[in-house]
């Protein structure tokens, strides 16, 4: 089973990298960009086919390593 975990900064946490990317896009002359916040994507191959088990494995992975929950949120998506 495949899964995608997305880790993003919590609201209110300053994101200097996102700001720099935002500035980069604007300096390219790409119009219509309001603001940018950056994050991380993890594509994960799971050995289980049980969705409930997969979710609990991924939640543990996020809580213990993939995200720093002081500043980051995570979202888990399982492939259909």
């Amino acid at each position: 089973m495949k899964a995608r975990v997305t880790v993003t900064l919590k609201q209110g946490v300053l994101d200097p990298q996102g700001k720099a990317i935002e500035g980069g896009l604007k300096s390219l002359g790409i119009e219509g960009i309001g603001s940018v916040r950056q994050g991380k994507v993890f594509d994960i191959e799971l050995t289980t086919t049980d969705r409930t088990k997969a979710e609990s494995v991924l939640r543990e992975a996020c809580e213990r390593l993939l995200a720093n929950t002081v500043i980051e949120n995570y979202r888990i998506e399982l492939a259909e």
Binding site: V13, L14, P16, Q17, R64, L65, L66, N68, V70, I71
Partner: protein, 227 residues
């Protein structure tokens, strides 16, 4: 004073901090990230600077889950001393031994230069050889030293006197201009609740010899050696 300096894959300041501790009179032994116990009789566990695991994922994140960190946590819980410098501070935050997190420097640059710090308190095992308000001249060398925590934690750190050092100018002003990386309240180092764990971004181990520009870093290691 027996200090165990822990080497993680990618640590590169372990030799320097060991030298600083020996110069101050401490006995220094090595420990390895994959060990499950600290060397027998360890008084102080040291997490040195460097780039553990190439700073992959988040600085210090992978090292903070190393087997030795359970032993460091147990040592700290018993009241044992723990010092984390630079990457070591990042590891301590990631491991939950210290609150907060070190984010990308506000100006996005890796900053490597001399930096003044103001000593916030002198009644700890780490800072006994300094005096309150003393301005020391050490070094910083980091890309992710921007200390951040939530408001409640910041209030707790400030009201409990758990800020160890603040970035300042040569005159001791902890102004916005003297803040190299955007850290909240110019925080350069913090103590744990029991004052037995210290994490700091600057490198006192760089300034222990007149030959290389100053000895303001010695106070920290001499304090520890006498603790």
């Amino acid at each position: 004073m027996k200090a165990a300096v822990i080497t993680f894959p990618g640590s590169n300041r372990d030799g320097d901090v060991a030298r600083a501790l020996r110069q101050a009179g401490a006995t220094v032994v090595s420990a390895w990230h994959a060990d499950h116990e600290l060397p027998h009789g360890t008084d102080l566990a040291v997490l040195p600077g460097g780039f553990s695991y190439g700073d992959y994922l988040r600085c210090g994140a992978i090292a903070s889950r190393a087997p030795i960190m359970d032993a460091v946590r147990a040592h700290a819980a018993r009241g044992g001393l723990v010092l984390g410098i630079c990457n070591g501070f990042q590891i301590l935050c990631e491991s939950g031994l210290l609150p907060g997190v070190l984010m990308r420097n506000a100006n996005l640059h890796f900053i490597c230069r001399r930096q003044h710090l103001k000593v916030a308190r002198a009644d700890t095992a780490f800072t006994g050889r300094y005096h309150v308000g003393q301005v020391i001249d050490v070094c910083i060398a980091h890309g992710e030293g921007n200390y951040f925590c939530d408001e409640e934690t910041l209030h707790e750190l400030e009201s409990e006197g758990r800020v160890a050092f603040r970035y300042c100018d040569a005159a001791g002003n902890t102004s916005r201009e003297a803040n190299p990386n955007g850290s909240l309240n110019n925080i350069a180092g913090v103590f744990s609740e029991g004052l037995n764990v210290l994490g700091m971004m600057p490198h006192p181990e760089n300034l222990i010899d007149e030959l290389v520009g100053g000895i303001d870093g010695r106070g920290l290691f001499e304090s520890l050696a006498a603790a």
